[in-house]
């Protein structure tokens, strides 16, 4: 049953499949792009599925992850988010918005030289928790911050 559901979810994510096909093609041509686009994580409809699919399931709360985002975002289509992390040996980080239709926003892998820091601008459909998960030393950690959204930025 669960297998069926998975298959359905996969076939439903048309855009995702296209992306993966392209990513696979790129890998063949020897580009520096490593992992294929994570269709399951980006297609997940709730945050716990998305976090598990992205490899951040069971993350423990940490105060060493600092999320800078506005308390109130007037325009949900452009919400600045800046994340830094004091945990040693961070290898990857992912941003989620709990109440977005697909909560997974982005993931970042830090290789030698990159600081565990990312700044970007994201879309939020409504007031929601912004959650950041990180991986360090084989363990996963997370932190959340609520952003109130006046005008949603998904669809329109």
């Amino acid at each position: 049953m669960d297998q069926l559901r998975r298959t359905f979810l996969k076939s439903a994510g048309v855009a995702g499949s296209v992306a993966v096909a392209i990513a696979a093609g790129l890998l063949k041509s020897g580009e520096a792009l490593a992992a294929a686009w994570n269709t399951n994580a980006f297609g997940a409809k709730n945050i716990s599925d998305a976090m598990s699919a992205a490899g951040f399931g069971g993350a423990t709360e940490s105060k060493d992850i600092d999320i800078k985002a506005p308390e109130i975002a007037e325009n949900g289509s452009v919400v600045p988010v800046e994340v830094s992390c004091k945990i040693a040996g961070v290898t990857s980080m992912a941003i989620f918005v709990e109440k977005n239709p697909t909560p997974m926003i982005a993931s970042f892998d830090f290789l030698a030289g990159a600081e565990p820091y990312v700044s970007t601008r994201i879309k939020m459909g409504q007031t929601s928790l912004v959650r950041v998960a990180v991986k360090a030393g084989g363990k996963t950690y997370m932190a959340s911050k609520e952003v109130k959204v006046t005008i949603g930025g998904c669809g329109g």
Partner: protein, 104 residues
Amino acid sequence: MAEGMKMRAALQGDVAEVKVLMSHPMETGTRKDAKTDKLVPAHFINQVVATLNGKTVLEAQWGTAISKNPFLGFKVKGAKAGDKIAVNAVDNLGNKFDGEVAVA
């Protein structure tokens, strides 16, 4: 369509703070065109790779919820003035975008 990227890399101590602004519609695939009332197909950058002097330092996967004309800031330790920082991005339609800047 998109015309690549604007980049800046400023050195603070031995850390280069890199800022990248890309030009891209970042369509979610759920937005309706106001005139035709049809869904605008998803069109978004989904993979980004940053290198320092040719060595990969950051790999990102993006979904549709990165804002239009994406901004990305990251920090690279051990960079020196004159080092080359390059960013390569690919969208879900296979279009490629490249940018390069010298650390200053």
